[in-house]
């Protein structure tokens, strides 16, 4: 049960670990996009609150993208009870 180590390292590079130049490279997320996503998720944050969330989300995007790109074998299932008891 593994994830690809090469891919993991690539992903970490994407997050900007050890490479500050990568930080801030993401394009801004339009407020309209956030407003729509927030409505779709049922949170319905106000524009004022979306403006607070927006820069945090933009900063996290590379890390999230890397996280989503980690390859996982099809046989790996989500943890249910977290320990075998």
């Amino acid at each position: 049960m593994t994830v690809s180590r090469r891919r993991l390292l690539q992903s970490l590079a994407l997050t900007g670990v050890g490479n500050p130049a990568v930080e801030g490279a993401e394009p801004a997320i339009a407020l309209d996009v956030l407003r729509n996503v927030s409505a779709a998720h049922g949170a319905n944050l106000s524009d004022d609150r979306l403006r607070v969330a927006s820069p945090v989300l933009e900063r996290r995007l590379p890390q999230l993208r890397a996280f989503r790109e980690v390859e996982i074998e099809d046989t790996v299932t989500p943890t249910q009870g977290i320990l075998d008891k």
Binding site: G16, P62, I82
Partner: protein, 472 residues
């Protein structure tokens, strides 16, 4: 006996005195209440002090012991829980304006078990708001580090760490979702245990993350932490995650012998961002453990770098789900950082959360492999405490890039559910003279082995005997 002598004695020293009626529970509780009165204005470790109830309970304990009704090693000893454990009839704030007036109509299982063991609730301890706020704000302002008031005790069980270190209470309870028992234990120079997931009931403990939260003991010695765990561990019909796994007699692990114990030492990743001074202290501790008979084993934890983001997504998603109504109805009352974190988490997708749980499975498999080649895994416990005004980010909060990701030496134990203990292993060269800590992890439900190695180390060192300069 002088009060200053009482305050820093261990349970192992105090319990026989109480049992033999050479020390009165009333005298003992008064000494700690006096210390709280003198020191808490500086350290800010307590949110609520239950003076009258504590004295009443102390008088009751005195009567019981005099009548031959000694209940065991915690009888007559004061304790204090982090103020997110529900205490029936006693305000439980979660460190938040939102719940600042909440008086529960039920008792958490942990405090109920301690009360049943005869321990005496002396107050409720400061924390980061809902265990996820900043180190600077909170309901009553931040707790401060007794070793230097300009420094943080770390969080989120900040009051628990500070109160024990400052001699305000000998036994405390904390909660740990990503290091919130172990980080304050390290920063305050005491011992903190995050038990195995399922070892201690979480009934009556305010949730941060259902699958990452743990409740555990904090004290000045390993032996005292073992006694405290003994009293609170075990299955609980009111918490379906509390495991029906037998609780061994932990005192049997306090042998001082670690001959042949395989101690895993990571060869990569975990030392990457550890300060040279901290690493030197850790290497000295490892060398001492080898002298004491441990067999050192090189260990690589594969995919360790994934743990931070896996923990962050699980924690923030579950916290956002738990606080959904609070966020919607009382968002203005939340500390800005808490509100921001919860709101940002509403943008995680279900697929992100499931992906994190799948990677959690990968990490749990990896820990199973690691514990086939060693009995105990040593991990750093972070660097010395940060300055109070520098601690923007709570321990349990996800780190925001561009802050550099930390070595995930704490949350690997939360993500995989394994037990982990932190104890002091040195001090900074100073000034300031701040405690440094070492962490040990073990197989699920093998807290006994953690006590075995930690007690052996503590028996050969005296870091835990040092007292902070702050006195009443």
């Amino acid at each position: 006996m002088a009060a200053s002598e009482i305050l820093f004695k261990s349970v192992a020293e105090l319990a026989p005195l109480l049992k033999a009626r050479k020390l009165s529970p009333v005298e003992l509780v008064r000494a700690f209440l006096d210390q709280i009165e003198a020191v808490n204005p500086k350290v800010n470790a307590f949110i609520t002090i239950t003076r009258e109830q504590a004295l009443e309970q102390a008088r009751k304990a005195e009567r019981e012991i005099a009548a031959g009704g000694y209940r065991g090693p915690l009888h007559g000893l004061p304790y204090a829980p982090k103020d997110l454990l529900a205490t029936k009839g006693i305000r439980t704030t979660n460190g938040s304006q939102v719940t600042s007036h909440w008086i529960p109509d039920h008792e958490s299982t942990v405090t109920a078990r301690l009360n049943q063991a005869g321990a005496i609730l002396i107050g409720k301890l400061n924390l980061l708001e809902f265990a996820m706020g900043s180190g600077q704000k909170g309901l009553v302002g931040p707790a401060r580090n007794p070793w230097d008031l300009a420094y943080s005790p770390s969080g989120s069980s900040s009051g628990s760490g500070a109160a024990v270190a400052a001699g305000m209470v000998p036994l405390a309870i904390g909660s740990d979702t990503g290091g919130s028992i172990r980080n304050p234990a390290k920063s305050c120079g005491i011992v903190g245990l995050k038990p195995t997931y399922g070892r201690v009931s979480r009934f009556g403990v305010t949730t941060l993350s259902w699958t990452l939260d743990h409740v555990g003991p904090m004290a000045r010695t390993v032996a005292d932490v073992a006694r405290l765990l003994q009293a609170v561990a075990g299955p609980d019909p009111r918490d379906r995650t509390a495991a029906a796994v037998p609780v061994p007699d932990y005192t049997k692990a306090l042998t001082g012998s670690i001959r042949g114990l395989r101690l895993g030492v990571p060869t990569e990743y975990y030392f990457d961002r550890v300060h040279a001074e901290t690493e030197a202290a850790l290497r000295r501790a490892i060398a001492l453990l080898k002298e004491l008979g441990a067999v050192l084993v090189d260990v690589t934890v594969r995919n360790a770098a994934l743990c931070g983001v896996v923990s962050s997504i699980i924690l923030s998603s579950e916290a956002a789900a738990f606080h959904e109504k609070r966020l919607r109805e009382n968002g203005d009352l939340l500390e800005p950082l808490v509100r921001e974190r919860l709101e940002v988490a509403t943008f995680h997708s279900a697929a992100d959360y499931i992906r994190a749980l799948r990677l959690r499975t990968v990490l749990m498999e990896e820990m199973r492999r690691v514990f086939q080649i060693c009995d105990v895994l040593m991990l750093p416990a972070g660097n010395a405490a940060p300055k109070l005004d520098a601690e923007i980010v709570g321990t349990d909060a996800p780190s925001d890039p561009p802050l550099p990701p930390r070595p995930d030496s704490y949350n690997i134990a939360n993500v995989t559910g394994i037990p982990a203990i932190v104890l002091p292993c040195g001090f900074t060269a100073g000034p300031p003279y701040l405690p440094l800590g070492i962490q040990f992890c073990a197989r699920p439900f093998d807290e006994a082995t953690l006590f075995r190695i930690s007690h052996a180390y503590q028996s050969a060192t005296d870091w835990h005997k040092r007292r902070p300069p702050l006195q009443g």
